[in-house]
Amino acid sequence: MHELGIVFYIIRDVKEAAQANGVGHVDAVVMDIGEVSTIIPDYLQDCWRWAADKEDMLRGCELKINTINAVTRCGDCGAEYGTVEHGKTCPVCQSANTWLIRGNEVEIKEIQVNDNN
């Protein structure tokens, strides 16, 4: 359900970008989705198919998802480590003074269109 809301945002942004570039039909949308963004790629795909096919400009348009690995940085020892494996506590020095440096993205990277017209 979360994913459906996101899909409506993606559709709005993609249509805007397509119109701005004089594009009639979009063939693929490429997304960067962080590992800890709370987006479930399978749900996102299902919602995408359902909603995109209702739009002339996006009928049959493919959603391509790049997964961005989540990385956390430790403010005490400077280590960078995998968030999914170790969470909030630094595996090197056990500090909790850590913050996510990537992995939270829900970003439209690019759209792909057919260029033989």
């Binding site: 809301g5 397509a18 063939d27 990277k109 269109v113 057919n114």
Partner: protein, 224 residues
């Protein structure tokens, strides 16, 4: 062969909503209205807490309530009947959260010139509502004792966006292994500045502290 042309966008899906929300916040500021976004899991006690709190705010603040629900309107009716405070129901049409645009549409049906404080009861859910800035001045959430003190570990985003955490249903503490000190520690890991108030919506314990917090917040917002 078809040639593929790539148009780069590089834009967060949340960017437009964040802008909408900031715009809404500054409009509310201009009108002297404080919007609180109240979130929690289903059944943590949002509606019960509001009923208790609204009774204590009578004569101190002029309050309106917006109840967001996927499809029903039981909460708005309950609030209105129990307290007489004007309440409207927002239907999210299947969506698990409210965004700034939906919040704005809801506010169009609220008498803003007669309100110091508008409380939005968001959809019961610990994940999705945290992603979307509604335009509220502050986010608050209710964690109820039966859910367990480890929730800040499992739902980090929710706890990092909340300025106030109400720990509800303290009357059932004897039956659960809920550890209040651990709870405080975990909440502060997510947001060191979060205010934590233990409450019991059933008996009214702690509700005065919440009401006082609201009065102070609204005062600060109007003076700032």
């Amino acid at each position: 062969m078809d040639k593929v042309k790539v148009i780069e966008i590089k834009k967060s899906v949340f960017a437009d909503n964040d802008e909408d929300a900031a715009r809404l916040r500054s409009e509310l500021k201009r009108r002297g209205v404080y919007l609180l976004n109240l979130m929690s899991s289903p059944g943590s006690g949002k509606t019960t807490t509001l009923i208790q709190t609204l009774k204590r705010l009578e004569g101190r603040l002029r309050v309106s309530v917006m109840e967001a629900d996927i499809d029903s309107d039981v909460d708005a009716i309950k609030i209105q009947e129990a307290t007489g405070v004007p309440s409207i129901q927002l239907h999210t049409g299947g969506m698990c959260h409210l965004d700034a645009e939906m919040t704005r549409q809801g506010l169009d049906n609220v008498a803003l010139s007669d309100s110091d404080l508008v409380i939005l009861e968001n959809v019961g859910n610990l994940v999705c509502p945290a992603e979307f800035d509604t335009g509220a001045v502050r986010n608050a959430m209710i964690l109820s004792v039966p859910e367990g003190h480890d929730k800040p570990l499992k739902y980090p985003l929710m706890f990092s966006v909340c300025d106030l955490v109400l720990v509800n249903k303290t009357d059932v503490m004897p039956y659960f292994d809920f550890d209040m000190d651990k709870c405080r520690e975990y909440v502060h890991m997510r947001n060191p500045k979060a205010v934590i108030i233990p409450i019991c919506a059933k008996t009214g314990e702690g509700i005065d502290a919440f009401a006082d917090w609201l009065v102070q917040e609204v005062k600060n917002w109007k003076q700032q």
